[in-house]
Assembly symmetry: C6
Homo-oligomer: 271 residues x 6
């Protein structure tokens, strides 16, 4: 493939790499088929970027409920591309930036990417980048407009660019035109079956055998996860929230299984 | 526990300590089981922060009606953590700050916390920090967005952070996304039973024996506190308001019991 | 009482004293029991501030219709406290100030107060301080938020602070959260009975005996003040407006009683 | 009268006097009793300002439809007061001023007035001073708030101030609180009777005798002015608009009476 | 006439004259009686300005649908006045001006005019000067307020001013108070009859005889212009749009009549 | 033609030419008659600009759904004019510009164009230039107003200007007055027939013969493109989106026809 021959060896930006690592602190547990699909589709897009001359820009938006693992999955896709330039745009590094500084920082990342022949840019948590709040609603139109242009602007002739975005707010992204600015989108699921939770619990090895058995027996009743106490309500849980539940419950020395199940109940009560 | 061994001995910031003391001017009277639950849950979160490698950031929002003792309870939790770094972010120290100065001050507290291996940050009265007013509604989106990011941003690798927030306006916090940014929440109750009020009155030793007896007899009629004059209205009273009632009534030399009960009546009339 | 012993003798700020005098240009006429109640409750609050260690901050909001004498009553309460530091925050001294200058001036008054062990701060005409206008509505959120914090922020340990506010717009103060920021409130009444008006007219000695007699006879018909010409409408009049009516009518040399009564009629027609 | 003895002889500000003259270019024609009433009430207010110690500040708002002669009447009242200081605040001198410059200019006029023992300030066309536009609505809240305070702020002890405002928009003035800030108001009428128009036409001596006769005959049919062509519509005409009609019609050499009556018809069609 | 004797010979401002010429690029074709009426009324206003001492300021607003020739007519009236000072205020010279620069430029034109004894100011396309857009709606209130004052402010004593404005949006001008600020208004019509179009087509001599004949036959069917293809829809066309249709159609060498008629059909379909 | 003789040979601006090339990366495939019509009408407008003295300014707006090829078509029209000055105004070169810089850059392009006797300006993606977002809605009124004036302002005497705009949002352009500011408009279609898609697929030579045959057979069922899986939904697809589908499908080595058809199905599901 001719790009590989030509590409400058731009070492990926140091600070960013550390950030990519932090995003996948607990790895990727393949708790269900939707995770595998996301990873394989991601590979295909990477191939399209490498090979196609007619579409030098490919972009994909990972969208799903809060705490479902979007950031970890996006970081994983970006790292797996093996492109020589890999960058992250994240609200965490822009706290208190003025709108102008934000745009300038974002623009800088794209300018850097245009210099490499193969680049991948991850744009994390777009609603936060936009300072979006549903009351009003308010958001930074300056940042929004810059993103809308940059996400659709092809790199210079002969260069290729892969963009991966994440958002918890698909509807707003559609209303703001961000959704349509991406050429593809992938949905990140919540866990809704007892089996899915159990897969993670076992992988993490969080509880001692008897506690684990108690949880297994409580979660294996049906196909879809319906916690006894919730009545008819089904549970839909993001993986990041599951980790929080597990770690909290582990602090109780003697009845951590109970505490864990109580935690599940609290979740369904809150939603 | 390995963190204890590693942690730098960062002396907690002086001014802040004085502020923590001021927040608990009248101590914590355990007038009911909900107070005990808050204190014990708080201990558990502290433990999770200390021990878990998978969740280096734990955050809890104390929410309850105005004058219910949220600030005093949050300060107590923060102080009981015994973490080497303990900081408070409070609107009282930011009167007249521009939005930018506010964000900068808030950011500074978090930057400081990231340097200690175990830190606790108390964020008091979040709606005031946000300059929130329901008419409009108006609020500082700049401060809001900074908080939303900082409350969810994990500390650097190997560091731990515990965040305690307080608010009188749960609904707005939910609408603004602040509620969901916290990993946990605890509800602070008002007092609704005569027994609860009496516990505080006795502890404070506010009135002379005969006046105390008069109040006791007036408040002990039923289980739930229904002041005679209010008709069918039940009273729901924050502890801070109770202190104000008591101190006012004490100024009347001869009929302070009457004045106290009249004060209760005024409260129910106003609400 | 221990504070008296300790307090620094901070001479009250000169300019302010002149302003307090200007506020009570025509003294306080006790035209009804509500005036006495306000004065006596005011005394009680002063006592609470002096004596209570648990409530070092006491605040009261005088609210009533426009022109009812709120400013004069607040100034009287403040002066009667005999506290060593007495300050006034008034929109009259801040015409054309930017929001930042306003906040800074207000903050300065509080900072000064925190240095005295016993202080009283009068905040006059809060809706004007807030640049409030019902169309929009618009107001200075910066000033509002500063006031909300300062009105509730306890003075430094060992110091005491008494705050007296005035407003003509109780409803807006409630909506903006100002009302609830005060620990107490007192209602200032309009005059609605002929007897009340007559008490002021006699005290002022505005008209010659025969004119006075004519007015007395016209106003003494019923208990509640119902001017003949208004039909079924009852009159409700602020004392400041009464002074304006009297002074206007006095300019007519020969039929000032008629002119006065005509003025009363115009008031009821306008409202 | 003691003020006359004491007052400094501050010569009225030159430029202003020229402006007062320009406002009364065509004098005051007493076309009806309402004009006389305004002039005599104005005299009474002047007397109150001079004599009363209890009301050192008196203010009156002239309100009426556009083009009814409010500016000319206000200027006449101000000039007739014979007060040593007489000032005008007019939007005509503030085109393109920033809000801050406007407030500063307005404030300056009041500061100057406070230095004279007897002053009169005319505030012309308040809705224009406020940059008011009903779409939105929009207006300068900074100027509004300054006016609200200054119109009600008593002059320094021993000094007297008379304020005369004009507005074409009584309803908005009420909504903005400007109306209630004035202690008095006077209504300026439109002309609605043929006799009233004829009085002005004759005084001005605009048309030759035969044309005048034609107009007289057309306008004298009924008591209230109902132009033939308007059908059932009655005409209500400001004096300034009448002057414009007369002057236009005079340009037609031969049929100016017809043109004048056609002009009246156009007015009723437009409204 | 005395002004003629006195007036300074201020040469009309060079740049402006070129702009006036550009506005009447295609002259004025008298396609109907409304055009003649506008020109003759314009003359009468000019006379009033010259002669009347009581109305030194006369102003007229030309209002009509887009592309009806308002700018050309206004420029013609201004030029026919033969006043020594003739100025144009046009959005075309103010692209990208700040509000402040716009007001300053507008003010400058008026200041210049006040120096000449007889001046005419043309204010073109007022909605564009105001940056008006119906969504919102938004507009520059600063420019609006300046215009409202300047359009009604009489020139200095002894000087005369004639103001001619144009607008395509009568309704908005009324809502914003601009319409009422002018002392007169004139309506500019669209063309609605075949005869009117033909008059222009012949004058312009756009098509060869046979094409012209074809168009004549198509347009002469009825009194009011009803293009066959439009069904029951009548056409209403501005003269500027007619010129565009003609010039487009002329490019087709062989069937320009067809193309012209097709163009008419497209217009009625679009509206 | 006299302009050709006179025109200065202004070399078209270098950077822009590269941009024009980038806009037509995949050429223009004439997949249907609407494409031919756009190209021929474009030629006619070019002729009008060259020849007409009465209409020195001609402007056309290309409007159509997102991804339909508007930018490529506009760039093609501009390049085919063969005018000596050819410029592009594009949001891609203005990311993060302030409103003022944007206006200044836009103005500069027009100023440059006025210097050439024959110029063409392409204004791409007007809604993005305006920072338009439907939520609010928000947009830069400063840029809008500048465009509204510049699009309608004739070039200096003797000069000619052709303006080509593009937009995906016809309705908003109409509401903002942009649509009516252009003298002409052309609609860019989506593809709705299988034949149209096949024409492009064959031209591009994307798939191997057997895969191509499979696609042909799937798309040739009916006249209008109704993908089996969509049920009754018809597909309407922009050419840019078609290119993305093709390139994605090509990455699957063995079943790219299936993947392509699945992609079509996803499009109809999303819309
Ligand atoms: N299959 C998985 N998918 C995603 N994350 C996983 C998976 N398995 C384990 N994880 C771990 O779960 C956590 C997911 O957190 P992450 O921050 O990615 O969630 P998020 O959806 O971005 O949350 P937020 O909505 O707050 O941005 C990470 O620590 C990650 O290592
Ligand atoms: N059980 C208790 N919980 C909380 N506060 C208590 C308790 N017992 C006594 N207190 C005292 O009551 C007061 C509570 O006031 P605090 O300022 O915490 O209330 P708050 O809810 O933060 O009020 P606000 O809504 O105004 O912020 C403190 O003086 C505290 O010492
Ligand atoms: N009983 C009384 N209460 C209040 N004011 C009184 C009383 N008796 C006489 N006065 C006189 O009446 C006047 C009250 O005016 P004041 O400015 O206090 O009214 P206000 O309610 O503050 O008006 P505003 O609504 O305009 O602020 C003062 O001059 C005061 O001296
Ligand atoms: N009785 C009268 N009352 C008022 N003005 C009169 C009277 N008789 C004659 N005039 C003349 O009529 C004109 C009134 O114009 P003026 O500017 O005062 O009207 P206005 O109501 O202020 O108009 P606008 O609503 O535009 O401000 C002046 O030229 C004045 O000299
Ligand atoms: N009777 C006429 N009235 C006006 N313009 C005419 C007439 N006859 C010919 N014209 C020509 O028609 C054109 C009118 O264009 P003009 O710019 O004045 O229209 P407009 O109404 O101002 O358009 P817009 O609404 O875009 O501002 C000019 O070129 C003018 O020379
Ligand atoms: N007939 C055609 N019309 C337009 N573009 C075509 C045609 N045939 C092939 N193309 C190619 O299709 C692509 C059209 O993309 P273009 O950017 O012009 O679409 P667009 O409508 O401007 O999209 P957007 O709505 O995102 O601005 C270009 O690469 C162009 O070379
Ligand atoms: Mg995330
Ligand atoms: Mg608190
Ligand atoms: Mg007051
Ligand atoms: Mg006036
Ligand atoms: Mg025009
Ligand atoms: Mg495009």
């Amino acid at each position: 493939d001719f790009e590989n021959a030509l590409e400058e060896v731009v070492p990926a930006f140091g600070v960013s790499l550390e950030m990519f690592a932090k995003c996948t602190l607990n790895g990727i547990v393949e708790w269900g088929p939707s995770i595998e699909r996301i990873l394989s589709d991601g590979q295909l897009f990477v191939q399209q970027v490498r090979n196609s001359k007619r579409t030098p820009l490919v972009s994909v938006l990972l969208e799903g409920a809060p705490k479902t693992g979007k950031t970890a999955l996006a970081a994983t896709l970006a790292q797996q591309s093996d492109f020589p330039l890999i960058k992250m745009i994240s609200p965490e590094t822009m706290v208190g930036y003025t709108e102008a500084s934000k745009v300038s920082a974002i623009n800088k990342v794209f300018e850097d990417a245009y210099k490499s022949q193969l680049s991948v840019i991850m744009i994390d948590d777009i609603e936060r980048l936009l300072d979006y709040v549903p009351i009003g609603p308010r958001f930074s139109n300056v940042v929004l407009q810059s993103l809308l242009v940059l996400i659709q602007k092809p790199p210079p002739s002969g260069h290729k660019l892969f963009i991966i975005g994440t958002t918890s707010d698909r509807r707003t992204m559609r209303d703001l035109g961000v959704f349509d600015a991406f050429s593809h989108s992938l949905h990140v699921d919540t866990m809704t079956h007892g089996d899915e939770l159990l897969k993670v619990i076992r992988e993490v090895d969080a509880f001692n055998p008897s506690e684990t058995a108690a949880i297994e027996s409580a979660l294996s009743h049906g196909n879809k996860l319906k916690v006894e106490l919730c009545g008819e309500t089904f549970i839909s849980l993001g993986i990041k929230r599951l980790y929080m539940l597990i770690e909290m419950a582990r602090q109780e020395e003697h009845n951590s299984a109970d505490r864990f199940l109580q935690g599940l109940y609290d979740v369904c009560k809150l939603d």
